[in-house]
């Protein structure tokens, strides 16, 4: 060790200047230590705060709860914590990202640690205040990005309604719910009439526009509890929770007539669109959610045979194989 350099004086300096808030309070909540970080951020110098009650010095603190928290450290001799994800901050400080920060105040993680005396009792409690504003901003950006990704992973890129995979998992879940709780549900499968002709006559871009408009109309006419998705190509599926076959047919007719009335114009040309719709409902003997789609498909097929632009409820007499 070099002459004249006392590690204890380093310690003092480090505690004061480290980029973490450090406060020590005794059982009466009297402040015994208030480091530089706290002074700079609060605008209260140590000499203004030391020896005074913490709550008298800072009126904005959640007193009742914080007293209990500090008290728990005295009694249980344990650590205690606060995290920004639940409580943004303990001390309302401005943060150091005045330009790039999107939050109003410094986000803080705090640790409460017991300072033990020789008698084995807690003499004082040290509170450390960590500035986690940067972390919170990154974390929120990450959360937003994850939410966007999750949304993208369940939607069809072209029409932005749900994709096949999502529809299938929802259908399976709804089917299980019905079977377990003896519930009601219907499923709709529909298909654009002569869609190949649209593509051949007006081009694929026109076809894409038709799919988008049909999807938008579909979402508009359905209830919020209904789940609609693009099943593939020009095929669409709708799950109707808590809906009987009769209700399902009503929804199907609403969809059919709204699409028939659509006035889709692409590059100056009007493109008429109609759909054929098969509807089925959950019955006790229904084997699986796949079987429901098979039934709806059977009804849809009969619509096509009977001249298209119509909807039909599946009848077990139709057979589904």
């Amino acid at each position: 060790m070099s002459d004249g350099l006392d590690p204890l004086s380093f310690l003092r300096f480090i505690v004061d200047r480290v980029n973490v808030g450090i406060i020590v309070v005794d059982k009466e909540m009297e402040v015994l230590l208030w480091n530089h970080f706290m002074a700079v951020n609060s605008g209260r110098e140590a000499h203004e705060v030391l020896g005074n009650n913490l709550f008298d010095s800072f009126s904005g603190l959640p007193e009742k709860w914080l007293r209990k928290k500090i008290n728990s450290v005295f009694i249980l001799k344990n650590f205690a914590f606060t995290g920004w994800e639940q409580r943004s901050y303990l001390f309302q400080f401005r943060h150091n990202r005045p330009v790039t920060g999107s939050t109003d105040f410094m986000m803080q993680n705090c640790t409460f640690l017991p300072i033990m005396g020789a008698n084995g009792e807690v003499q004082a409690v040290c509170i450390t205040v960590f500035d986690v504003t940067d972390i919170s901003i990154y974390q929120n950006q990450l959360k937003d990005a994850m939410a966007k990704l999750e949304d993208m992973s369940i939607r069809d890129g072209l029409t932005e309604i749900y994709n096949r995979r999502y529809i299938e998992t929802q259908l399976a879940a709804e089917f299980d719910r019905c079977r377990r709780y003896d519930g009601t549900m219907s499923a709709i499968l529909f298909d654009l009439d002569h869609f190949k002709n649209v593509n051949d006559t007006y081009g694929h871009l026109a076809g894409d526009e038709v799919l988008r408009q049909v999807s938008k109309t579909l979402v508009d006419v359905l209830r919020t509890s209904d789940v609609a998705g693009r099943y593939g190509g020009e095929e669409f599926t709708v799950i109707l929770p808590n809906t009987s076959l009769e209700g399902g047919m009503k929804s199907a007719e609403r969809i059919r007539s709204a699409i028939e009335k659509l006035h889709i114009v692409f590059e100056g040309q009007h493109i008429p669109v109609t759909v054929s719709i098969g509807v089925t409902e959950f019955r006790k003997e229904t084997k699986s959610h796949e079987a429901m789609l098979q039934e709806a498909d059977t009804a849809l097929y009969i619509c096509k045979e009977n001249g298209r632009n119509q909807s039909r409820a599946y009848d077990p007499k139709d057979g589904s194989e």
Partner: protein, 204 residues
């Protein structure tokens, strides 16, 4: 990896110090919360990782949906505690923990974290005193919210083969509150505990 089980003396000593630790935990919690805290007699044993989900399922009365909070502790012994709350959570403890009202998901989460922290702190400091270890603690973190119990601790996600398992239930007199605390100390801590137990046994 095979584990040498504790002998009868070691088992008795472990049960005894755990009982004492829980007694201390109960009395300091009562002092803090100002209500009588009822703790079950702790169940202490070494389990294989494959037994953990069943052990957890057994201890919880209402296994439908639970919320679980984890908190790690470390020193010569290291491990994690998981506190499991039933569907009601711990909102009926809000006033005892100094909350005026609990608002939103964040408020509820914070209350769960606070309750976990004091239970874990009380239990481990009690245990630490018996075996003369001062534990450090990580901040508590939410592990699962409203999740079926069997999904909370899945054996295929745990990276050890054997652990010392301590289970204890907490409830509060005259309140509906109940929760379950599980402490798991994997592999090397089993041997560390054995040394600590032998040390205690020698001193008698």
């Amino acid at each position: 990896m095979s584990i040498q089980p504790y002998n009868e003396d070691q088992r008795d000593a472990l049960q005894e110090i755990t009982n004492i630790a829980m007694g201390q935990a109960g009395s300091s919690l009562a002092q803090l919360l100002d209500v009588f805290v009822i703790l079950s007699v702790p169940r202490v044993r070494i389990v294989g990782v494959e037994d953990v989900p069943a052990a957890v399922g057994e201890m919880v009365d209402d296994p439908e949906e639970v919320t679980a909070v984890r908190q790690a502790f470390y020193n010569k012994l290291r491990g994690e505690t998981v506190v499991i709350f039933g569907r009601k959570g711990c909102s009926d403890l809000a006033d005892l923990m100094g909350y005026d009202e609990v608002e939103g998901d964040e408020g509820e989460e914070e209350l769960l974290l606070d309750v976990t922290n004091i239970l874990v702190g009380a239990v481990l400091n009690g245990l630490g005193e018996q075996i003369e270890v001062e534990f450090g603690f990580s901040p508590p973190a939410i592990m699962a919210m409203n999740t079926p119990i069997e999904k909370v601790l899945r054996s295929d996600e745990l990276g050890w083969s054997h652990a010392l398992l301590i289970e204890v239930n907490f409830s509060l007199e005259e309140r509906g509150f109940k929760c379950y605390l599980i402490m798991l100390m994997p592999e090397e801590s089993i041997d560390m505990m054995r040394h600590a137990l032998d040390h205690i046994l020698e001193s008698f």
